[in-house]
C-alpha cells in the first residue's frame, strides 16, 4: 500500500469487475435479512414491471464500498458513504450473472486531526450504464 502515501487529487482507483449471480443474491438476502422476492423470484419481479430479478440496491452499494475499502486495504477506514439508486442491476438465472464494473477517482484530499481523508467519486456500471448516482465515499488513508 506504499502508493497510498503519494495519493493525489485526480488519481484513479484500480478498477474492479464483480460478477453478481443469483446465488450471490440468495446469500445476501440471508446475510442482510432482506427477503423481498423481487431479488429472487422471477414471477414477482415480472409482476411489478421489472425486466427480471434485480440485485438488492444495498448489495450494489456494499460491493462499491468494498471497491473503495479494498483500495486502502482497510474496511474499517471508511468514514462516510452515500449513493442514489438510479437503475436496477438485472441478474439473469445463469452461471455468469450480472457484471458490475466499478471505477473511481480521488475527488479531494483533506486532513482532519492529523488523518488524511480521501473523498472518492465512485462510478458503478451495469450493461454500460451507471446504476448509482452521486456515489461518494470518504475514507481515511493510512499513515
Amino acid at each position: 500500500m506504499s502508493e497510498l502515501t503519494t495519493v493525489a487529487e485526480g488519481d484513479e482507483l484500480p478498477p474492479l469487475t464483480v460478477q453478481v449471480t443469483r446465488a450471490d443474491l440468495v446469500r445476501y438476502a440471508g446475510a442482510s435479512g432482506d427477503f423481498n422476492p423481487i431479488h429472487w423470484n422471477d414471477r414477482t419481479a415480472g409482476a411489478v414491471g421489472l425486466p427480471g430479478v434485480i440485485a438488492h440496491g444495498m448489495l450494489t452499494m456494499a460491493l462499491a464500498g468494498r471497491f473503495v475499502t479494498g483500495w486502502v486495504g482497510d474496511p474499517a477506514a471508511l468514514r462516510s458513504y452515500g449513493v442514489r439508486f438510479t437503475r436496477p442491476v438485472v441478474v439473469p438465472d445463469d452461471d455468469e450473472g450480472a457484471t458490475l464494473e466499478l471505477s473511481g477517482k480521488v475527488k479531494a484530499l483533506t486532513e482532519t486531526d492529523g488523518v488524511r481523508i480521501a473523498k472518492i467519486d465512485i462510478v458503478a456500471k451495469f450493461d454500460g450504464r451507471t446504476v448509482l448516482g452521486r456515489a461518494q465515499a470518504e475514507i481515511a488513508l493510512p499513515g
Binding site: 464483480v18 450471490d24 446469500r27 445476501y28 440471508g30 446475510a31 442482510s32 435479512g33 432482506d34 411489478v48 440496491g57 444495498m58 448489495l59 452499494m61 456494499a62 460491493l63 464500498g65 468494498r66 475499502t69 479494498g70 486495504g73 482497510d74 474496511p75 474499517a76 471508511l78 468514514r79 462516510s80 458513504y81 452515500g82 449513493v83 442514489r84 439508486f85 448516482g133 452521486r134
Partner: protein, 147 residues
C-alpha cells in the same frame, strides 16, 4: 396517504441489537469482503480493534428491519409493497464490531409528495451501550401515491 404529522418526530429507541462475530462474517462473505479483520479475531486485534469489524454498510442492515416494522404499521399509511429505495447514506463515528450492543432511534426527517410519489427520509442514529454515537444512516424511500 402517509401521516405527515410524523415529520420531525422520532420513534422510541429500539431494543439493543447484539452484533455477533458470526453475523459479521456472514455479511462480509455475502459481499465478497475477505479482509482478515472482518473474519479473524486475532487479525482484528492485531490491527487495533477489540473484535472483528463489520463492513461499513452493515449499519444499514441493522436498521432495515426496524424501518420495515414502522412502515408496515397501518397507522403510518405507507404502501410497503410498492416501495423503492431511492438513496442511502451512512456516516460512521467508528467501525461497528462484534460485541457491540447498538440501540437505534429512527427520526422521520422528511415526507413529501411529488409527481404521484411519496418520498420519505428516515434517519437512524445508532449508539452503543455507553450511549456513544457509532453510526448515522439516512434512507430516502419512495412509494406510489394512491391514484
Amino acid at each position: 396517504m402517509p401521516d405527515e404529522s410524523w415529520v420531525g418526530r422520532s420513534l422510541d429507541p429500539s431494543d439493543p441489537y447484539q452484533v455477533s462475530r458470526v453475523k459479521i462474517r456472514e455479511f462480509a462473505t455475502a459481499i465478497g469482503e475477505d479482509s482478515r479483520i472482518c473474519h479473524d479475531v486475532g487479525a482484528a486485534r492485531a490491527a487495533g480493534h477489540p473484535d472483528v469489524v463489520a463492513p461499513p454498510t452493515f449499519a444499514a442492515t441493522i436498521t432495515m428491519p426496524l424501518i420495515e416494522s414502522f412502515l408496515r404499521d397501518p397507522a403510518f399509511g405507507w404502501d410497503y409493497s410498492r416501495m423503492v429505495h431511492g438513496d442511502q447514506s451512512i456516516a460512521l463515528q467508528r467501525p461497528i464490531r462484534a460485541g457491540d450492543e447498538l440501540v437505534t432511534v429512527i427520526h422521520v426527517d422528511d415526507l413529501s409528495t411529488r409527481a404521484g410519489s411519496h418520498m420519505l427520509t428516515l434517519r437512524c442514529e445508532l449508539t452503543d451501550a455507553d450511549g456513544a454515537a457509532v453510526a448515522s444512516t439516512k434512507a430516502m424511500l419512495v412509494t406510489q401515491a394512491a391514484s
